[in-house]
Symmetry: none
Subunit: 243 residues, 2 copies
């Protein structure tokens, strides 16, 4: 048991939750390592939602609300850490939810689908087809899901896949703690924040933004501004780290 007053309580809890989902086959072992990577960047960013990330989250909400056909692409780590938050965001944004995995097996797709459904998510189903410009199983997605979407929210996505979606002309909203990752640089908009802080924040903004603010936010989702702000935050934190 982790004491609730531990300064890194949330982070330790998330790690335990992921390890337990890895034992059940929902999270891939590679996903566990990827999570550790995120932890390091969250540590560098101060384990809090920065001001610029909050603005990115409002912009993400505006993009989802104005989309013709928004889809949230969910992988094992996202389902393990934030199934209930995905349900709430789906309800606030009316986005479709598709399970899309880097280490794809039909067994894992089914396990993750069940986990999401038990949290109240409506999961898109059907026969996945090789519709993305990627090799092998990574090309698979649903024709009526990600393939047809105009805006896709990809929490914790691989760089290749983010690029493939952008190259198809989609607006891609990434949630990525590493402001230098290919995903972060390639996405239309990157939310540099930890998943379980970012999703409720986007959901909250969905309920608050009026059309005028939405228009204004949408006019310039300047991704490079958000990446630079996150980087400045990290550099500031490192400046006196050894003093």
């Amino acid at each position: 048991m982790i004491p609730a007053d531990h300064p890194r309580y949330r982070s330790l809890l998330a790690r335990e939750r992921l390890a337990s989902c890895a034992r059940e086959g929902v999270v891939s072992l590679e996903g566990l390592a990827a999570h550790g990577r995120g932890e390091a960047f969250d540590y560098l960013i101060g384990e809090r939602t920065t001001e610029s990330a909050l603005l990115a989250e409002r912009t993400a909400a505006a993009m989802l609300l104005s989309a013709r056909s928004p889809v949230i692409s969910v992988n094992g780590n996202t389902a393990a850490l934030a199934a209930a938050s995905i349900a709430e965001l789906q309800s606030a944004s009316r986005a479709g939810v598709e399970v899309n995995l880097f280490h794809r097996t039909e067994e894992r797709v089914e396990k993750i689908t069940r986990l999401l459904e038990s949290a109240g998510v409506e999961v898109l189903s059907g026969r996945a087809e090789p519709l993305l410009p990627l090799s092998h199983a990574r090309a698979l997605c649903l024709r009526e899901g990600i393939f047809s979407a105009d805006s896709v929210l990809v929490p914790l996505e691989d760089g290749d896949r983010c690029q493939a979606l952008v190259s198809m002309g989609k607006r891609v909203i990434a949630i990525d703690l590493n402001p230098l990752s290919r995903t972060a640089r390639t996405a239309t908009l990157t939310v540099v924040d930890e998943l379980t802080r970012a999703l409720p924040s986007i959901t909250g903004a969905c309920g608050e933004i009026d059309p005028e603010e939405g228009e204004r936010l949408m006019r310039s989702p300047d991704n490079s501004y958000f990446l630079r702000a996150a980087l400045d935050e990290i550099r500031g934190n490192l400046e006196h780290a050894l003093d």
Copy 2:
């Protein structure tokens, strides 16, 4: 399969290797997440051996060569990623090799021992005793191994255990990519470099250093210099990272 043209092929391959060793019980699930944290710092340091790390590696070699009784402490991640490099370093430095685990079970000790032996490592054996100033299984080590060593190389070590070894008066050489970690700050000398680059570099230096250079290197293994240099490297990399 990770496509060979993926820009982060080497890093993803290491992650796959660790995941496969986790399936076999050599690497712990916590070890996988810890590896991910290391990946993030390696990314920030540029996934290369910096000039200051190279100097730290030569200093590490000098410390091992001048030791009366050097021991390399090997855990699951180290065995999974670098068993052959450990064999080469052992041969170049005449250090003993002891399996020492944070998440210790006798089954894991045996599996790791077999993995190391199949790579040509001579592994110290015997009955582990609670000789380190730590609680529970973490106190266990071999009387004729780590307990009697004057210098211990600990790749990827936990902060508590690093501190315990230092408190016993040993010279501790850590390999740790996070210059802010407790291990990095506590060790006598910290090599801020990735394991599979650091070990061959230390081994190479063992064959090159003459007694005079060894003396000179040994005179001031100033750990705070190496940590500050690594942090400056990271901050410098972040400075123009988005240009």
